[in-house]
């Protein structure tokens, strides 16, 4: 008889989801799945609307990374109209986007990732949160985190009117030029963010990397998958969150493909499984071989780890220095899933450095901040690196610019196979003979938390209960039981 262990609710995770672990007669893990309950109909909601509205509508998909959707969408609309942006517009967009990265990545690291390490993976569940973290590392750290977030929020408001649902990018450029006074304020704020990035890296080094037990956990086999990786790189092959070509490397780190965003459909296919709404993207050249890693499998991973694996390095000095240490410890490509946390912290520093660099660029206060859209609209693809990984927006319109087709592939979808693999592998190694403790379950949760999966839809209605269901399937894929959380 097959037994099922389900972890619910998934603590500190975006939105709602569930993990089902299937045990065999011996109490060992046979299968483990991570599933998503998501809101549907977004594409349908958009069709029939003017494409210019998309940079304002799409950030509503998700309150988690509105800036990522905002930027990918604006780039897709630029492409629909064949607009070539002035340098001022590109640099203002990129500067804002890098500030958003610091804001987002820092929340993820301190609120969601760090408690596992700082408080400890075996600590009771009630202590493994940011309050437990502050209890360990001190109130001053908490103050630094909140202050850095508030600096970033203020700068984003300056660039976009409001920080949460931005109005910075408009088709063909940005909504307003940057004054010298604002530029100076951004430069001062960005300096503070660089200091915060260095401080965060130090926390990671002191608390996680200097602890042999945690380091062993990171580099160990429990959370390791030899997959392909994907991410944007600039013309020098360095990490870039805002624009570039999409590069894919194989499990040995060799470049497998490098393509312009508009060609993504030549490289990425989407597999559907009956037990989840979330699709499984895969590399078309290799085909869908199931939820498995290895050179023959088309499964790939994106996000901080993916970006560091595909790129030649960072364009900013402090992040590059940190990246060298990352490479020495984890190798390249780094297959350690918990390396996502480390990569994320390096990216905080890189994004802050890049924002500072751009704030000092004379182009950002240029007067040429938007071009008129004169071409007949047709079809366009916009790709950015969302904090969680590659984000694709693809729009088709009629000659009037009314949307006829919309396709979005978000980071968590790219990572779907990877997350399922990690949950299965971790649970296989950590549950033996039916022996399951809270600490072990948390280590399984750590597997997917590394990806910072975002299941959000932008809602935060106050629910009476967590909407989690447990579905149990037999070997033929037939639903044999469904348990709702009481």
């Amino acid at each position: 008889m097959r037994k099922v262990v389900t972890i619910q609710p998934i603590t500190r995770l975006e939105g709602h989801g569930k993990i089902s672990i299937f045990l065999d007669d011996g109490g060992n893990v046979k299968d483990a799945y991570y599933q998503v309950v998501e809101f549907r109909g977004f594409e349908r909601f958009c069709i029939g609307r003017p494409v210019e509205e998309m940079p304002i509508i799409t950030p509503r998909i998700c309150g988690v990374c509105p800036w990522a959707h905002h930027m990918a969408s604006a780039k897709a609309v630029d492409a629909v109209y064949g607009a070539e942006l002035p340098e001022t517009a590109k640099k203002i967009r990129e500067m804002a986007y890098n500030i958003f990265y610091v804001h987002d990545h820092s929340a993820v690291f301190y609120a969601l990732s760090a408690p596992d390490f700082v408080v400890g993976p075996d600590a009771p569940r009630v202590e493994r949160n940011i309050l437990g973290l502050i209890g360990k590392v001190g109130l001053e750290t908490g103050k630094k985190v909140i202050n850095a977030r508030m600096v970033a929020t203020k700068l984003l408001e300056k660039l976009a009117g409001r920080a949460i649902i931005p109005t910075c990018a408009v088709p063909g450029g940005v909504s307003k030029p940057l004054t010298e006074e604002d530029r100076k304020e951004i430069e001062e704020g960005a300096k503070k963010l660089v200091e915060f990035g260095q401080f965060t890296l130090k926390i990671l080094e002191d608390v996680v990397l200097k602890n042999q037990k945690y380091l062993d956990l990171i580099v160990g086999d429990v959370y390791k998958h030899e997959t392909y990786y994907m991410g944007l790189v600039d013309e020098k092959g360095l990490v870039n969150y805002y624009e570039g070509k999409v590069r894919v490397v194989d499990p040995k780190g060799r470049i497998y493909a490098e393509f312009h965003p508009k060609d993504y459909l030549n490289y990425i296919g989407e597999h559907v499984e009956p037990w989840t709404y979330l699709k499984f993207p895969y590399l078309k050249g290799l085909g869908w071989k199931g939820i498995v890693d290895g050179e023959k499998s088309g499964a790939y991973r994106v996000g901080p780890l993916g970006r560091l694996n595909v790129a030649n390095g960072f364009a900013t000095p402090l992040a590059q220095e940190a990246y060298e240490r990352f490479k020495e410890t984890l190798g390249k490509p780094a297959h350690a899933t918990l390396g996502y946390h480390w990569a994320r912290v390096i990216e905080i520093l890189n994004a802050a450095e890049r924002a500072l660099e751009l704030s000092r660029d004379p182009d950002v206060t240029g007067k040429d901040f938007r071009v008129p859209l004169t071409n007949t609209p047709n079809e366009g693809v916009g790709i950015v690196e969302a904090p969680r990984g590659t984000l694709i927006h693809h729009y088709k319109t009629d000659q009037e610019g009314i949307l006829t087709d919309v396709n979005l592939i978000v980071a968590t979808t790219h990572n779907n196979a990877g997350i399922c693999m990690s949950v299965k592998k971790a649970s296989q190694q950590l549950i033996k003979g039916g022996n399951v403790s809270d600490g072990l379950l948390n280590m399984i949760e750590m597997a997917f938390r590394a990806y910072d999966p975002c299941l959000a839809c932008g809602t935060h209605a106050l629910p009476g209960q967590m909407p989690l269901d447990v579905c149990i399937y037999d070997a033929d894929g037939k639903l044999v039981a469904e348990i709702k959380r009481p």
Binding site: R12, E14, G15, H16, F39, R40, G41, F42, R44, F45, I57, R60, G63, V64, P66, A107, V108, A111, L112, N129, I130, L131, I134, L139, G142, K143, I146, R149, M150, T153, I164, I165, C454, L455, A456, C457, G458, T459, H460, A461, L462, P463, G464, Q465, M466, P467
Partner: protein, 156 residues
Amino acid sequence: MKRKHGTVVIGLGNPILGDDAVGLVIASELRKRMGRIVDIVELSAGGLTVAEAMLGYRKAIIVDALVEEGTVPGKILRLTFEDLKTTPKRFIGFHDIDLVTSVELIKAIDRESFPDEVVVFGITIQKPGCYQEGLSEEVKTAVPKCVEMIEEECGR
């Protein structure tokens, strides 16, 4: 941090998820009626961002949709922050941490700037299932009443 003064009303919701937008609709209505007297903030966010938006005010009023199975849509509940901690009704933090933890964190870090009083108005809705604009008739009916209740709350 600035010294505490006045009241902030924070409307929460997603404008393209049907009734989930009710907090934003109410905030927008309140801005027309009393935007010069109190600060009105509309947010499509949760957790830390909401807690951070309260800093510097003496009193914070949050208005948001509430999903409660078995309850008809359009019911208005006035809750204190303590109620949020002790009842099953709680905010779900979809990215960072949930609101209760966020508030406790922000209070621990900067108690002096945190409001003395936090009140939550929840309007019951059906669980949103797909993207759409506009409120349902039941929830729309609750808007003027909730606006009045919050106006009264601001005067307390």
